[in-house]
């Protein structure tokens, strides 16, 4: 893999533009040498940027199977894209991209995009809400997880969060979501694991120490004060500010909402945040009607959305390259479902099932995983695409191969076992050294230790009570309380308690300590 080294940076002359341009000491953190001294991210800190396509993206129009083109045209005569408008992909003769995805096509042809075909899950839901929750929580169709797959990964990596966070070991947000509120994806077993920047405006207000204007009234004056304190006290605000201020030059981005979000993310990554996960979304993919302009089907709603997506990703990747962070950033797109093979009479498509996902970035091994979807001769409204890969196989592979989670630990995070998809990343990928993982394990303050883990018959809890009401609870993956090994009122101090798990079925469980208004949750696995 194209792992960055200092020498290469120096010769490329782009990794430390701030130094060369003489921006002064404030920019020094961009220098990889001082980066190491300052507890900032290092070359081996891997970052995942997740882009959610809200509404259910039409996979067949995003990446079209040329060998099925006639059948596709049979099913959607009113909206199918002209075959000659599709963008061919080098080395992949039977697949072509939507004409608006030229930016993504370029990245693909450079070997920086992997298409995973026919991703779904058994018994898929066609409800936006339910399907989104399934994708974010990683549950089966008939299960309900109150936590998200990414939140559980972060809880695995940083088990003491949020007690005594931020701290010198992890001074930065575990995850940053630029969006209206925290997604289910980022919910850990007990709490949100991410830092939400509600909007790009909000970010620039933070950067420029400005606030949304308040009315010129007594209430407005009070509001302005609370907002000022909110800005000053927002946990991680200073880290965001410091990281942002080290980056003064970026590549040009298109003027679109998604690009504006990715531009901020690139800046934060290059600025040295150790943050591993970034989440953004782009809405509008629920194209029941007027998916295309009938006068020119290469234009219209879907074309605009994919254009915004592809161009933003292209600009983002170019900027990563410019700022010297491309080797440690991977992107992933997902949508709650694909759309129906056959179109409807409103020149759109209804909710469907499986669809492709994109992985992008320099660490990604370019190409296609899976085969082209097989369509019926004349698709009807009842026909859907079969699933070839479970979306959690993609998550599992990202966790193992990108975040370097030992394979034995992945099922504890995803709460089920899934086959891995090999070959999605460059084969010589450098993993974060294990001492970083060890450091993350002890970052913050541990109030509860559950041992052994995994366990067979029972658990010993070492815990610190703040005094007063003290509980240690065992919850299953659906958040249901299955046991309360400790429930007492006791004086402040250190305690130890053994709990016999009895006939508790094997699986992942969460041990939660509740004491003094604080909670800490540790993940444990029961084995046969």
């Amino acid at each position: 893999m194209k792992r960055r080294n200092f020498l290469k940076n120096m010769t490329a002359g782009v990794a430390i533009p701030s130094l060369l341009n003489g921006f002064g000491v404030r920019a020094h953190a961009a220098n990889p040498f001082s980066r190491l001294l300052n507890g900032l991210s290092s070359d081996t800190d891997h970052v995942l940027v997740v882009i959610q396509l809200d509404g259910g993206n039409d996979g067949l129009a995003t990446v079209s199977p040329l060998d099925q083109y006639n059948r596709l045209a049979n099913g959607r005569p009113n909206i199918v894209l002209p075959e000659n408008s599709l963008l061919s992909l080098s080395g992949t003769p039977t697949l072509a991209m939507h004409p608006a995805l030229d930016g993504l096509r370029d990245l693909y042809n450079d070997g920086n995009v992997r298409i995973v075909q026919n991703v779904g899950y058994p018994n898929p839901s066609l409800s936006h809400f339910r399907a989104t929750d399934i994708w974010m929580s990683g549950s089966n169709a008939d299960e309900f997880f109150p936590s998200g797959w990414a939140g559980r990964y972060l809880a695995y990596e940083y088990p003491n969060f949020p007690i005594d966070y931020p701290n010198p070991d992890m001074p930065h947000p575990l995850a940053v979501e630029i969006g209206y509120s925290m997604s289910l994806s980022l919910m850990g077993p007990q709490t949100g694991m991410g830092f939400v920047i509600p909007s790009t405006d909000d970010y620039y207000q933070l950067l420029n120490s400005t606030q949304t204007p308040a009315p010129n009234t007594p209430a407005g004056e009070q509001l302005a004060y609370v907002r000022l304190i909110a800005q000053q006290s927002r946990t991680y605000a200073q880290a965001i500010l410091d990281a942002s201020n080290t980056i003064t030059t970026q590549q040009t981005y298109p003027d679109t909402p998604l690009a504006a979000k990715l531009k901020i993310i690139s800046r934060l990554i290059a600025g040295g945040l150790k943050t591993r996960l970034y989440l953004v979304s782009i809405g509008g993919f629920d194209t029941h009607a007027q998916q295309v302009e009938t006068s020119d089907r290469t234009t219209g709603t879907h074309a605009n959305l994919l254009g915004e997506l592809g161009d933003a990703i292209k600009a983002f990747c170019d900027d990563l390259q410019f700022l010297g962070t491309a080797d440690r950033v991977t992107g992933m797109t997902f949508s709650e479902f694909g759309r129906r093979i056959a179109s409807n009479s409103s020149d759109g498509t209804d909710h469907g099932e499986s669809a492709p996902m994109f992985l992008f970035g320099k660490p990604v091994a370019g190409g296609v995983t899976g085969s082209n979807p097989q369509l019926p001769q004349v698709p009807t409204a009842n026909d859907n695409l079969d699933m070839e890969f479970d979306f959690r196989s993609v998550y599992a592979s990202v966790l193992r191969d990108w975040f370097c989670v030992p394979q034995n630990d992945v099922p504890g995070i995803l709460l089920h076992e899934f086959p891995y998809l090999n070959g999605m990343f460059e084969s010589n990928l450098a993993c974060t050294p294990s001492d970083v993982h060890d450091q993350n394990q002890s970052a913050g303050k541990s109030l509860l230790n559950c041992r052994p883990n995994p366990f067979r018959s029972g658990l010993t809890f070492d815990y610190e009570s703040a005094g007063g009401m003290t509980l240690v609870q065992i919850l299953d993956t659906s958040g249901r309380l299955v046991a309360t090994p400790v429930s007492t009122w006791q004086a402040r101090g250190q305690y130890q308690e053994y709990w016999d798990a009895g006939d508790l079925p094997p699986g992942t469980y969460f041990c939660r300590l509740v004491t003094g208004g604080q909670q800490q949750t540790k993940t444990v696995v029961k084995v046969e």
């Binding site: 209430a219 979304s281 004086a491 402040r492």
Partner: protein
């Protein structure tokens, strides 16, 4: 601050419940409950910040106490409920919409009052058993018991918090807190459960009565006698503690340039000699009372209070003393200013002083210090309903926390699970303490700074340490809840939304919920950033309506319920973090 060497033990004080040594060691009881209140990280206000907001201080509106004759709509009802109660629901809004403004204020001020049943032993647990009082039984008449008093005191505090949670359409609990701030006792300094209960009961019973009566009752209240050393005050060694505070902090204040003198403090201390308590009752000891005349300064018109002897000497001199204090015109102004800051707005400029404070003080005096006429005039005035006064108060931690519970209908287990009810309300107290307002334990005898420290006043509640704590508290109530041994108190977002007028319409849900939760209206552009949370960023509002309808038709279906719950939680997570939620 306690001068134990000056104690002159009375010879006849009945010590049936409490031996003297125990009583003297109340504040040093070694049997503390060992619990931690979250360390508070308070960044001092920077000079720059202070200058900026002092300069900006917006003038309060110039409206007067003339009766409000404007519209009576949801906005006015909500404003009245926000300021006079600890949180309200849609049912309360609808109820008062069906009344006139005058009727609404009348009901809130004159709600029927029966003193609530007192606390019981709800604290016995695996690691502590009250040696004298069985679980579920009242400890109020039990003898002082050093090991149990920390629990009994916490039980009183938790009980008090539940009175706030359970307060109906009445101002009484809010006034009880007002008087607690004005006439404080610190629980940790007077660790004797039944005594603290009596103090709290005095405040509640007298909350809407006569201020002069309240001052007389609180002066002779066992907890106050203990807290400010009145019980140590004797003719041979007067203790000036209470004599000073009753003038400086309770009745006259120190807003005036001219002021009472140190000799006035000394004379008052001599006048107040001879009162003793066993923690249950108060007794007067003639042999400890200074029978000489008490001469006061020109500040009080050179009044001389004649010294008395005999069993009624103390009470008679106290009445004369209170008459003298309350004859001073500043007494009424001082309390009216505090009421104004507590209920209306922190800033009092000369115009407000003239248009509002002085007329209120006149009403107070004309009614011989009855409290209701003052509140009645204030809450029916055009000044109170002035749009410029709406949303202009920063919620105290109690307003924020109790209001959150009440607005979302968060339930405690109640009598069915006494210990959990205690444990959850105890933790609620801890959470408010982390935000700098521990009910029962203001920082000192002056009360909480946010009610007197000019010019910042209610802004003092909000700093870089406490604001995140407010956010953590709302997060916990949305996602995790507060646990007892077998139960928990948590926001049920589906039940809450179901109580709104039109929850299946996403716009109506947002409009109504923000109207109830936020201190001031937000522009449509802000609502537009909240809608995608409920709609999963889908453009069509019908998805919410559809989801709501599915759940309504099949309430037991977790697929339907879960889809709504996840989105409502994300919505509340965001909304309760917004700064507008901190205003009322």
């Amino acid at each position: 601050m306690r001068t134990l060497s000056f104690i002159h033990p009375p010879t006849t004080l009945p010590m049936s419940h409490l031996d003297r040594r125990s009583f003297l060691s109340l504040a040093k009881n070694p049997h503390r409950i060992n619990y931690r209140i979250d360390e508070q990280t308070i960044a001092p206000l920077s000079a720059e910040l202070e200058a900026r907001f002092s300069r900006r201080a917006t003038a309060p509106p110039d409206s007067s106490l003339a009766p409000y004759a404007g519209p009576w709509t949801r906005a006015e009802v909500i404003h009245l409920l926000r300021r006079t109660t600890f949180g309200f629901t849609r049912a309360d809004v609808d109820y008062f919409l069906g009344k006139t403004m005058q009727q609404a204020v009348n009901e809130i001020l004159n709600a029927p009052y029966t003193p609530p049943a007192g606390p019981v032993n709800d604290y016995n647990n695996a690691n502590f058993t009250d040696p004298a009082v069985p679980f579920g039984q009242s400890f109020l008449n039990a003898a002082y018991e050093a090991t149990a008093e920390p629990y009994r005191a916490e039980s009183v505090r938790a009980w008090w918090i539940r009175q706030m949670l359970d307060s109906e359409r009445s101002i009484r609990e809010k006034m009880t807190l007002f008087w607690h701030n004005h006439l404080p006792v610190q629980f940790q300094e007077a660790l004797f459960g039944s005594m603290l209960y009596r103090y709290n009961k005095t405040l509640r019973d007298d909350a809407l009565g006569n201020f002069k009566t309240l001052m007389r009752d609180i002066t002779l209240d066992p907890a106050m006698l203990f807290y400010l050393n009145g019980y140590l005050n004797s003719k041979n060694a007067p203790d000036e503690n209470y004599a000073r505070e009753i003038q400086e902090l309770f009745v006259i204040g120190k807003d005036l340039p001219a002021y009472f003198t140190e000799d006035d403090v000394k004379a008052a201390a001599r006048l107040l000699t001879g009162w003793r308590t066993d923690g249950f009752s108060t007794f007067f000891f003639t042999n400890e009372h200074d029978t000489g005349d008490k001469q006061f300064s020109a500040f009080y018109g050179n009044r001389k209070i004649t010294g008395r002897s005999g069993p009624n000497a103390g009470a008679d001199e106290l009445d004369d003393f209170l008459d003298m204090l309350f004859d001073h015109p500043e007494a009424a102004r001082f309390v009216c200013r505090k009421l104004y800051r507590f209920f209306v707005y922190h800033g009092i400029d000369p115009q407000t002083e003239q248009n509002v404070i002085e007329p209120l003080a006149q009403i107070f005096r004309n009614n011989n210090y009855d409290i209701l006429p003052v509140l009645d005039t204030l809450f029916k005035s055009e000044h109170f309903f002035d749009v410029l006064n709406r949303g202009a108060v920063i919620k105290s931690p109690v307003d924020m926390t109790i209001g959150l519970f009440r607005q979302f209908g968060v339930q405690l287990p109640g009598p069915a699970n006494l210990f959990d009810t205690f444990a959850i309300s105890f933790q609620l107290g801890q959470a408010m303490a982390a935000m700098l307002q521990h009910v029962g334990d203001p920082p000192n005898v002056a009360g909480w700074q946010a009610y007197y420290q000019k010019p910042f006043l209610d802004k003092m509640w909000i700093n870089t340490g406490t604001l995140p704590k407010r956010g953590q508290a709302t997060d916990i109530m949305v996602f995790a809840g507060i646990y007892g041994l077998n139960s928990r108190a948590i926001i049920d977002p589906l039940a809450w939304a179901s109580g709104l007028t039109n929850p299946s319409n996403v716009n109506a849900l947002i409009d109504e919920s923000l109207e109830m939760l936020f201190g001031l209206p937000v522009p449509q552009s802000v609502k537009d950033t909240l809608k995608p949370i409920l709609l999963s960023n889908l453009p069509s509002e019908s998805y919410w309506t559809l989801g709501w309808g599915l759940w309504q038709a099949d309430p037991g279906n977790e697929t339907y319920a879960g889809a709504l719950r996840v989105r409502l939680q994300a919505y509340l997570y965001r909304v309760l973090q917004m700064e507008e939620f901190q205003l009322c």
